[in-house]
Point group: C2
Chain length 474, copies 2
């Protein structure tokens, strides 16, 4: 071959190569998007970086507090007399205080931002306080404590829960209940349970939790090995054991055999076929857009923000009217107000289990697991919340947004042959899903907001782990 022909060949090859690359699936825009789901444990070896969040500013009156705003709340409170006078306090909740609905409805993109305020629930010297912090003026503009207005107790923080476990595990009476059952104290896994409200004089006017322990001997599924009837009642703020109850001596601790649910442990015989990987393909990408906290998809627009108590708050939901092409307001604010889980068992170890999973613990979550919890092309939104001392922290990948398609048909019509009309119409059923998953003990709640092009909104909470299935439509 002459050099000239060779060059032609090279050019031709390069052209084919170029065309080939152009037809390749688009490159993943995140390390999460490039992986196929693997139906087993997935750990992230390195944490993603979130530097962009540190400089984030609110773009909409309902946007959640930013890192800078959380820090400003902390600074303002640290110079406030209430907190100056106390060596220790807990901020149980720091969230956006929404502006007046009328102002929000009037506000349009490009308008000057509405004044930003934070709503704070704090416990100082065992007294609850509800504060409003004005981020512009720098002052605490509202101040109520429980002597003025008793309205219950704040949510427990993760630090509250850790703190509650310490005292009983130092208590000989409590530990003795386990050793006399033959349970090795090193195998104990204990949970802090909300203790309900039964108007008992010794339980009034104090924040209390009960501690229930399990044995993790031989299984990670310790929920299957409860140490029945042993509970410690603990004062959250004083970190003191109030009472120990041991009512289940005759109830054995289960062996835990065959209770490990981990995929890596399951012994699937050759006959139990494994499924090939599957996900959703969208060669032109998803059809929704996320601008800050505003989501637009098909005929829908809404504002979406993570919340430490409700998990997801959907606001200003609008749907486009097909007749006028105008957006219509259909829902100003939607969220899961509560998940009430009463067990209705009168025994000493169970009567108090009347969990308010949103209001007592908060529907926060560990990161969603891409391709397992949400399909390919999902958009992930992080949550930024305040820890007990007001320091902002990140809940990465807390919410995912994706288009769902199960291969189903939204609408179809084929004309029958005797009419002589050739009509074959079919519309695939595609919906938009906003999802989060909250793990509270052995409950894994999946919260989905699903939007259909026909104007339907489905809000569904499902419990996907053991014991029971809940479906709550709000």
């Amino acid at each position: 071959m002459e050099a000239r022909n060779l060059w032609r060949f090279v050019l031709l090859l390069a052209l084919v190569l170029l065309l080939t690359w152009l037809h390749l699936p688009s490159l993943p825009n995140s390390k999460f998007h490039s992986r196929w789901y693997i139906p087993k444990n997935t750990f992230y070896s390195s944490s993603p970086t979130y530097h962009h969040l540190e400089s984030e500013t609110p773009q909409h009156p309902l946007d959640p507090l930013t890192i800078q705003e959380f820090n400003r709340v902390r600074t303002i409170l640290s110079s406030h007399p209430l907190f100056k006078s106390s060596s220790s306090y807990t901020l149980n909740s720091v969230v956006l205080e929404e502006p007046d609905k009328k102002l929000v409805l009037k506000w349009k993109k490009g308008d000057p931002p509405l004044p930003r305020k934070a709503s704070v629930v704090a416990v100082v010297k065992r007294v609850s306080h509800v504060l409003t912090v004005d981020l512009e003026t720098g002052h605490v503009t509202s101040h109520e404590n429980e002597t003025d207005l008793v309205s219950g107790y704040p949510m427990v923080t993760l630090e509250d829960q850790f703190g509650v476990l310490e005292a009983p595990l130092r208590c000989p009476e409590f530990n003795n209940s386990f050793t006399k059952r033959g349970v090795n104290l090193a195998d104990l896994v204990c949970l802090a349970l909300s203790s309900g409200w039964y108007e008992k004089p010794e339980e009034e006017n104090r924040r209390l939790m009960k501690v229930q322990c399990y044995s993790k001997e031989g299984t990670v599924n310790f929920y299957m090995k409860p140490i029945e009837g042993v509970t410690a009642l603990v004062d959250i703020d004083r970190k003191e054991v109030v009472a120990v109850s041991d009512d289940g001596q005759n109830i054995p601790v289960a062996s835990g055999a065959n209770t490990d649910y981990r995929y890596s442990i399951q012994k699937l015989s050759g006959e139990m076929r494994l499924l090939n990987p599957i996900s959703l393909e969208q060669p032109k990408g998803p059809s929704f857009s996320v601008d800050g906290h505003m989501v637009k998809w098909a005929n829908w627009e809404f504002h979406l923000r993570p919340d430490p108590r409700a998990g997801i708050i959907i606001s200003q939901v609008k749907v486009r009217d097909p007749d006028t092409s105008m957006l219509r307001n259909v829902m100003y604010k939607g969220f899961v107000s509560e998940l009430f889980v009463p067990y209705m068992d009168p025994t000493e170890g169970w009567y108090f289990r009347t969990y308010m999973d949103a209001g007592e613990y908060g529907l926060q979550s560990k990161p969603l697991n891409p391709l397992n919890d949400c399909p390919r092309n999902a958009h992930y939104m992080d949550g930024v919340f305040a820890s007990y001392d007001g320091t902002p922290y990140l809940q990465p990948n807390m919410i995912c947004i994706f288009e769902s398609y199960a291969g189903d048909i939204a609408w179809r019509h084929a004309e029958c042959p005797i009419t002589g009309l050739k009509v074959t119409e079919a519309r695939p059923k595609v919906t938009l899903v906003v999802r989060m998953a909250a793990a509270l003990g052995n409950y894994d709640y999946i919260m989905d907001w699903e939007f259909q092009t026909d104007g339907l909104i489905r809000a569904e909470v499902s419990e996907e782990n053991s014991i029971l299935i809940l479906h709550i439509l709000v």
Copy 2:
């Protein structure tokens, strides 16, 4: 560049090119699989070829009749005295007569085939006959006619329906009902409706249908322009008008404005966003296998066959027991026995509308529309049925089989941080769906059999076009 280096460059390019091609999505194995769904009319310009079906032989005792077997039934019947003596007859149903259940359960792959028989329902000289044709001996081994055993009338054939329309459209009284309403006869679209059973003496002992007409003036959605109250009662076998009823003179014919549902006609303004294409991706292909009419997926095995009346018949469903790894029989036979659609309107034009859509019309379908009716990677199964004279014909792409995944979670568990255990498990929810769609007038039924890995079978019939939604769990 020297020639040697140039060659190296060419080789390198070729290598990159090869690797690039190797990573391309696998080539579609059918013309249907290569197209993205387009949410509008889809017509097939050329028919696929089905030569392989002509030589097909049954591989399982429950396999449907093959083309060769249909032809053998025709040959056997043509020399039978009943059909020899008549110049015209109709075969309203020719299907497999299933062998005895005990024999089927005993039969194993590799065993000699069980004797094959066909069950035939025929109308000869306006008398219904139920016959069993033994395909081995070549004889008609069972013979009942309605004087021996009256058990109702056979399903109407497409030819019956065409035939029913002819007589009324030649009837001046019937046509006059339309012209006096200002309806152009050229705009008429008429349907043959089953007439119910009301013990009227003049309707006894004959096969009857009623003809209802619509105007297609200005719209393909003629169902929105019924000519109310005008019906003709027609004898199917004699092709005679028995009676004409005109009871709705004061009911106007609707204009039909804005009733065209075709995607190509819809005026979607720029604000009504269109969705990007979406389907299911399975880079390693689907996890099910179809061998003849046997389907295997995950822990499931079953036999599947198209049926001209029930649409889909599922047989010998087995699920693998996770404890023993053995297959367990869970359902011998499953099908939609009937779809009863009573309108409950006592007026003259409506009282008789009490359709038995399976038993009167049969749940056959036009071809499923790939990527609209079923997702990518679906497997399509053809139906072979007998027309009114026994000639076999093809219903291509009548049933689809696919794995469904909507981005949902079958099960998950994340351990809470205070336990110290690092557990994050999630299993995507994947199911197997067997689907067909039957279009009967303005009703488009979608019949899904859905298999879940947890052992659940869902059988769902949904009506996806106008008027109403039916959900029937069988």
